[in-house]
Symmetry: D2
């Protein structure tokens, strides 16, 4: 029987806990060796221990310097993703880095250069690609069921806006929210974006506007292969987390709806009522959080390609920057205006 | 008992026949006095007679000059809409004019000036406003069920492209097809468009491209009230006539699907299959074609306002022109760049 | 051009008016010559005249004795169906008789004997066979899409119970309501019922129980071809007129839902709400009322078979009687216990 | 921190493995101490060890006699359920027993008497009560959303028939399959069955008929509270595992559909196709298998009532026997004909 893969997790906040739980409960052959978090609490330490962590510390160096640890999950704050990624790679660890790799495009490129040199597996946490619904759209397209994709429509609505403080440091709606949809659009069309037009507004909370961000946006993407994608995003859908896509092509269309807690439909004098979409991203995407790691560990074990890598992390941020500029200047912005993405980053 | 309203129909092609049939079968208190068509065939004459037409002629002047005729339906080719509208108005007839009033914005304004002076009722044939599904979206919005509209999404796909010869004279996809959706977006948001951005491509038939038109388009509209609309249009959906809308607002969303010939769902080894959308616009919109006329004749009888008038005809063509220019120049185009719409046309 | 078929309508109540309207508006080549009703009011007379009736009278003999009238619609009270059917047949008229032909099985047989001898077309008003949804189930079965039918499930719920006075003379829930479903079950299975088991109760209105009837019933039917059908009926579904069927067979299933006034779906904090079923049978079955007559007049013109005839009228009442007896005696009742149906009635 | 509850599992076949996996992966605070199976293979032993079992043996006595083991799962063949239940209870263990407790009603009563005397928790594995969909129907009924239940409809179709050898020993379709639906009907109506009528046939596989069983059945249940339930069951639905329920009452209805692997809908020339129901009971009910144990262990820890107990195990078999007799004798059979259930078994 093969040895378990020993894992270190840097950052024990919400997303770090998600990864720890699915490793503990869902993924055989992997064990959590060490969890590091500078703001470690007793409660978190207890949780991580109950999930099998052998060591809990405030010092991430205990992970980087541990020769038994093969893979590192970077779940700390965004500004640490790049430097930690580089340290881990240079220490020969495989890295699973939460998105975004960085808000600064040049730093991402720097990190990708280190990844390339070190030869480790480097996966970026675009979990939605692994969601059963989105994956079924990809499968239908790849199977030729809708022919060539002409138009792709993505709906991306959060149930409630984040705190304004978060918006101020996150890079804004294109960086912290719609970046997932940029990745999804590339994934589903199988092509690269050449130009972005974003119409954005403040309709949900004027404080978001005062912080220099938008809460409502409609983004049009033109792709190399001729496909056009349109993403509508909102910080607040009162009925829950609304994540849908429809791909329309030469031979038909494929569309997904939201998952619900049950299929129950109640008919009474008021109408015919079914359940709202699952409210929270963890409810909706729990399976996806597991599946992305299953494929990450498979790639480590079998030497196969990882499913979503550094270039995907880079280009999604480049598109976000183009969208931000487009909204600010009210004009279509070419990807090539933002940065050179042809420099071998793929 | 009130006298029947006597109607004249100019143009006995497909849409003229639609109006004749629904007057004959569905609308009490109205009778077809005369039908005029320069290309009249015996077959059409027989049909119109069986629908109750008392006279069938090649000469539309027999309608204009008949003092008994109160209302005229203009169903002839687009280039005749303006002059016939003006003649009929000057003769004191109420006019129901098929869309578009004209491809030339100045001519529409000219016609609207004549309408205004003559004081007749002048309705433009934007039938979709009267469709039970679209009307239910309007009713939900007006009842405050989704709060303020933030984003409006319209899907508009024809089952098959028109002949290239038609495309050459129709003004193109924005004028002959998406113009309906421009009107719908104004109707549902209850606001006026200020700016248009159109991403368009040729994916269905390259001959459409050679004729200078597009067959696929995604159009973003910004409205005075802050709403953003996005319309995706295609000349060809292999599964049928796909006409949907989703309005998303501060308190929720309302969406409509397509009508089908039955609610049957078949489950077998291949999956769970329901019916395609009704294939043809006459199947889908027959009820709407009747309802628009019911309201037209009500306005005549009761002196009430007509539901969709000359300004609606004008502004939809202005938006189409803005979309065409936007696609050609790849930039957002302001409505105010196209023409002055504040000159009392409303 | 062929002469119009002249029609007489006996009985100008709700169902008589339905037939008059659809003849007037929807069916070319047919005209209403005379309408007879012993309780004729001025209002009804005006209505019928506006629908084209040339003569309105209290005396049905004016129809029977009019040699110009080819077809008679019998829309009077149930107890007159048999004698009027016989009179009309003997006068050589084709007959469209509302259901049931009679509450007395022997009288139905007597009538069928007259029909047979006179050689006219005799159609019974089982309109649901012509509903677009039910017809699509029949089409799927006939096309072999679900293989052999193993189980058929019919849901039949009225929006509100009829007056108790009606229940007292109608023959009860099996005769006045579920009789439609007995016919539907025969139509869809393409087989004859051999045995009936009915579980029935009073849950909606105890006055219905005091009148000797039930308001809730579940009826199991065994068919010659081995199919089993189960019908659940209720006098009152607060959400509207609920008429569905599901056929399950060796190769799959086909199911229909209800029609709604629109496809609108509203998502908000309370859930995801769509429209209730159409509330009233005229809303739901208007198309079916037209289609049944289209086929009736086609049979007259072309000499083809009528789609639903005297035997269907007979057997459905026999099944109703078996169901009534089953509920009363709490045991399965064979059709052969009720009457001999093999005596050449088909 | 509380001590873990130590569990023994008797029977390591399919259902034993299901319980072991969900204890290992999904339920904190519980550990598998010993697994016993007389037909233990190395493969199964390895699996159970990887799931945390400390000991794997062929001798179930090692579980019964282990004072550290608090709870025993009985997952062995049906004929051993009663004696093992009794042994475990007498040894003071809490028991989770797979259904049915026994095919012999007297033996079930004997076991229940032992359970009662020993004072342990005794849960029977009617997992469907814990399924998110069925549970949502129960919640809607309990919340009064549909008022009093008038009619309950349950659809229960397996994707494929079991081997005929299984049918010969299982007690037949009412004992091995529809027994779940009998329990569900009691659970949802909150009332006890008084009478059963079963119409059954052989349509799927004539070998099932030769073995003395049926593969298709429609069962009507009358309840103490006046509700009528109807269950349609089939051994073979080619499109997958079809498990639905609709409850209809004085204030409306609640219905559930099946779960699918994704919400994807493909529209093309052939129609609009969505996914089939999940094919296999483990796919559909995995969450329910976990939830039933969560509640079982909660009852042990907190001394609360178990959610489904010995009486539920008894009465469901009594109903199955009544259904079997009803089908054989073609008459409604009263529960009181089968056995006395009022003898304090509840």
């Amino acid at each position: 029987m093969a040895e378990n893969i020993a894992v270190g997790i840097i950052g024990a906040g919400r997303i770090g806990q998600v990864h720890a739980k699915s490793i503990a409960y869902e993924i055989p052959g992997v064990e959590i060796k060490t969890v590091a978090d500078p703001f470690l609490t007793e409660e978190i330490a207890d949780l991580m221990t109950s999930l099998g962590a052998k060591r809990v510390t405030r010092d991430y160096k205990e992970i980087i310097n541990d020769p038994e640890i093969e893979a590192v999950f970077i779940c700390s704050s965004t500004d640490t993703h790049s430097p930690l990624s580089q340290e881990a790679c240079l220490a020969g660890k495989h890295v699973f880095c939460e998105k975004p790799v960085d808000l600064d495009i040049e730093k991402i490129k720097e990190t990708l250069a280190v990844v390339k040199k070190s030869g480790v597996k480097y996966q970026v946490g675009f979990n939605r690609r692994f969601d059963h619904n989105f994956a079924s759209v990809k499968a239908a397209i790849d199977a030729g069921k809708i022919g060539d994709v002409h138009v792709l429509k993505i709906t991306s609505r959060d149930p409630a806006p984040p705190p304004v403080e978060y918006v101020k440091v996150s890079g804004g709606i294109f960086y912290d929210m719609i970046v997932h949809d940029f990745d999804m659009a590339r994934f589903l069309t199988g092509s690269e974006v050449v130009e972005v037009y974003a119409a954005a507004s403040v309709r949900v909370d004027e404080n978001i506007g005062k912080a220099g961000d938008y809460d409502t946006a409609v983004v049009t993407l033109k792709f190399e292969n001729g496909a056009i994608a349109v993403i509508d995003g909102s910080r607040k859908a009162v009925y829950g987390y609304d994540q849908r896509v429809e791909a329309f092509g030469s031979k038909g269309s494929v569309a997904i709806g939201n998952d619900t807690l049950s299929t129950a439909v109640i008919s009474n004098e008021d109408g015919v009522t079914s359940e709202k979409p699952k409210y929270f991203f963890l409810e909706r995407y729990m399976g996806a959080f597991t599946e992305e790691k299953v494929q990450f560990f498979d790639a480590i074990k079998n030497g196969s390609d990882i499913p979503v890598g550094g270039f995907d992390g880079l280009i999604s941020v480049v598109i976000a920057e183009a969208a931000k500029r487009s909204a600010a200047e009210n004009r279509p912005v070419k990807i090539s205006e933002i940065t050179d993405i042809d420099g071998g980053w793929k």
